[in-house]
Amino acid sequence: MSRRPPRGEYIETDTGNKVARKATLVGTQNIMLGGKTVIQPDVMIRGDLARTIPPAQSASGGPANNTAVAIGRYCFLSRGCCLRPPGRMYKGVFTFMPLRLGDHVFVGPGTVVQAAQIGNHVHIGGKVVIGEFAIIKDYVKVLDGSVVPPNMVIPSFSIVAGQPARIIGEIPEGGIEAFELRDLYKTVGNNPQPTAP
């Protein structure tokens, strides 16, 4: 009698992505994961809201590379968060624009992200709402419960909080190491390694 290994909570791909089985990913062919990214259960990613390229312009027959959501390396999407591409009227037609996350982006639990672009090494707290077409630059910390209004641009190295979100501080010189998510990546998954002492 063959014994299969028990089904773990996460699917681990060969590029190191850890995707929970209970995550809701709609339209997976339009979602790009950079590698070593963790997607926890109850995360919802809307890849079906992709940009509709007019057929005259598509070069290689059909929407072969129509990315709706592009996520970088070592990202961490906590439970219950929701990533959806922003949409607006563009040249008379309502279109969705791609949502791009950089590397080492931590998205807290229950957060809804509708930004256009998020840079590298960004820490987003829990229950945050990032409005449509917001742009978050690198090394930014968004505190829990903030509401970033649509079209806001958050410069690098800022700390942002409030409803509506305002810049309340700057990342100090020694605070850059706290954004690294490599250790957090190792603690999650089917064979979690304990955190280093």
Partner: protein, 217 residues
């Protein structure tokens, strides 16, 4: 160090057919509601409709995947050209977990649990509690907003993200609720333009979201 090439999300290790979504099955708890769908509305396959009372979705409205419509407190009516985003809940229980039933209106008819006017947008994770709650035409209920039981929200209002409307509260037309409960009146006069933009958005969404109303009828 070589840069990793981005990889699409993997499909099942055992399946050879290409899977387009990872949608874990959510058990359909509760009774299957009687529904009245207009022929042109778009209901995603993984929308969640429960409850004993009727759920009505009118012309050209769009229900995204994983939206919840619960008619446990009464009938749920969605107007024309509405958009209900994912994880929004119409007819939710209040914070204590009770489903309110609306008190009868002046003529003695029982109010439905939730009534949405035309051109309403209910965004991600918003909770509209049951109990005679009325959302006026053209209103946008923002992300994560909670509208209390029996509240009457006027026309063309904007409830920004994470705001709260208390139970039974009456919000006048054209109000904007922002920041931590601040209110102001929207004097831009753009209601017609917003309605037209919503109609355009619905045209695009109808082609993107595969509709399966037959599953619920």
């Amino acid at each position: 160090m070589s840069s990793a090439t981005p990889s699409p999300v993997p499909s099942s290790a055992h399946g050879h057919h290409k899977r387009h979504s990872i949608l874990p099955a959510v058990s359909q708890s509760g009774p299957k509601p009687p529904v009245q769908f207009s022929s042109s509305c778009t209901i995603a396959d993984s929308a969640l409709l429960t409850g004993p009372h009727t759920i009505i979705v009118s012309t050209e409205s769009v229900i995204h995947p994983r939206a919840r419509l619960e008619s446990l407190g009464g009938r749920v009516t969605v107007g024309r050209r509405c958009i209900v985003h994912e994880r929004a809940c119409l007819g939710a229980a209040d914070l204590q977990g009770r489903y309110h039933k609306g008190s009868p209106d002046k003529e003695g008819r029982s109010m439905g649990a939730v009534t949405l006017g035309d051109y309403v947008t209910v965004e991600v994770g918003a909770q509209v509690e049951s109990g005679g709650t009325v959302i006026g035409e053209g209103t946008t209920v923002g992300i994560g907003t909670r509208v209390g039981a029996g509240a009457v929200v006027g026309k063309h209002c904007t409830l920004t993200a994470n705001s709260t409307v208390a139970a039974g509260e009456v919000i006048p037309d054209y109000t904007v609720i922002y920041s931590n409960g601040l209110r102001r009146i929207d004097k831009r006069g753009v209601s017609d333009l917003k309605n037209k933009a919503q109609a355009r958005q619905i045209d695009v969404l109808r082609r993107m979201i595969p509709s399966n109303p037959g599953k619920f009828q």
